[in-house]
Subunit: 376 residues, 2 copies
Amino acid sequence: MFKVIKKYENARLGEFNTPHGTVKTPCFMNVATAGAIKGGLSAYDLKDIGCQVQLCNTYHLHLRPGDDVVRDMGGLRKFTGFDGPILTDSGGFQVFSLAKLRNIKEEGVTFASHIDGRRIFMGPEESMRIQANLGSTIAMAFDECVENPAEYSYAKKSSEMTVRWLKRCQVELERLKREEIAVNTQQLLFGINQGATYKDLRVENMKMISELELPGYAIGGLAVGEEAAVMYEIIEAVEPFMPKDRPRYLMGVGTPLNILEGVRRGVDLFDCVMPSRNARHGHLFTSQGIINISNAKYERDENPIDPECDCFACRNFSRAYIRHLQKAQEALGLRLAVIHNLRFYNKLMEDIREALDNDRFNEFYREKKDVICKRI
Amino acid sequence: MFKVIKKYENARLGEFNTPHGTVKTPCFMNVATAGAIKGGLSAYDLKDIGCQVQLCNTYHLHLRPGDDVVRDMGGLRKFTGFDGPILTDSGGFQVFSLAKLRNIKEEGVTFASHIDGRRIFMGPEESMRIQANLGSTIAMAFDECVENPAEYSYAKKSSEMTVRWLKRCQVELERLKREEIAVNTQQLLFGINQGATYKDLRVENMKMISELELPGYAIGGLAVGEEAAVMYEIIEAVEPFMPKDRPRYLMGVGTPLNILEGVRRGVDLFDCVMPSRNARHGHLFTSQGIINISNAKYERDENPIDPECDCFACRNFSRAYIRHLQKAQEALGLRLAVIHNLRFYNKLMEDIREALDNDRFNEFYREKKDVICKRI
């Protein structure tokens, strides 16, 4: 199902054959929280951006419109019109970051919806049932997402519970598929490595979950708050214990530089809201560094955001126009900015794959690493 | 420049040859206030919607980004990427509806910007200079837009002043074109008929402005508040005095039924923010009447908004998905709703033209008039 085509030190050029199409890796997955990318992008814009995988959020879709509605509409791919692979997260991260009044037990988590405050229970089985209704290509295991820094003893207990939860996820998803309750009876389950910032816990956890022979493995809980250096160290510690023949997904990461560093350390899949969040603030990624389109110097600038970019915004509109739209709070301003930033991320992955294919990833890394996140 | 191809009683099928392309009339012009349609639509979406003329607001663009910026960027067509004809209003309507602390004199109006409160003076010459900078295809005369109901004596004075203002507009725009200050040296000026709801004032005003032999004439000041019946009566009173060989534009109107009734009475051009404003509230026009997409009955509805519609939203997405996006306040929900409503308006005009061409406008009118604005 997953094939490493080429390696360059730890970096991997790969192909991940899913029931809904082949994903070339390294790959950035584009976040469509409630079934649509922020800024008014549709599945058709995603195609134009070069998006291979759409990521949707289980927690949001469970609350609204309800996963039963999505199931009745034929699953997320039919509902959103995106015909490629879709990954759904488990809801765990949102339960631990957005929801209120949490109560965590071995069975699962009781929490209050951030929309209307109603009490909801979600455990491994519930998460699998919701994701089975959503009909995604890849379902993520339900995990406790511990906030860093965490106490060692808490992190240990939590990561052990997450392993037990993962086993329950595996059993439940198999049942849902076998009994044809799942919209997608070929749905894949990825396990998630946890253990906070403790290398020994991370390694121990990774060893345990790798035994379950899942179709993919993620490193979770690293996108929130800790230093990039800590994140890189943990990837380096865990990576040797990740199955070589399965895709590896670094959840919620990150800046273009984080991604380059992740690829160098053997990661294949990424996702992050940064491209759309930065777009909202007028921070646009370019081949020369990050520009702030609100800056007065772009008032009469006839150039596209990035002359090297081939996105819809850069093909058709000037910095001056996009700056005006952002200042006037016209929805088109955000839309063009999001399209551009997402295209930047997807094009970065294309360039990384090309560099790997041409055995020049290190040169590429050196050329890009200082410029890619520089504010200009 | 304007040619009536066919008449059906008072209704006219026509062709308006502008320096920036031919407009088939009757035509609905699509409102891109600050240089972009609300909901995140670009000039390229407008093409897909079948938009012939983009309408931009002088007042908004003068304040932001500034008409000098637009001029330096090559004018509105280049700035926004819309390569068809663009009409700019005069700023008058916004000065009288949005701006605060107005002081009206023979010279013009002093007012406070609704953005930052700064004092601005705008008279006929200023409006022409701004519109010359914007480089629109059609500039509208600067008029006083009197609120209805108005005192007879005030309406009389105001409509007489508006005639004097129109003459000043004509002189100033000729100068700006002759001296090649105008971005578009072939810019056309439309006069605006005023006179509140008094037929004698309207007729007298129309007689006076028709003598100026302008390339087009508008009926202004009728979209705000008064009964549709009053509006129709005034159109009927004024129409016989409008030049037969010039396009006629009913400003800011209206519902699909208003448009049908306007066409019947000899109007060629329309504009209105209703399609996008209704879209914001989930009110979507269909061939069966107006639906509210938020309605619970559409929760699992796999049909497009209108099975008879060929817009991007109807070609690709279900009512259930669009309803979900609207409820979740996803920008894509508004975008799809605006695309649909604007396509509905533009398609209505295509159907009107076809009915006129096939000598069956009255049948078309009778088929549509009861269904077109019905809430279902």
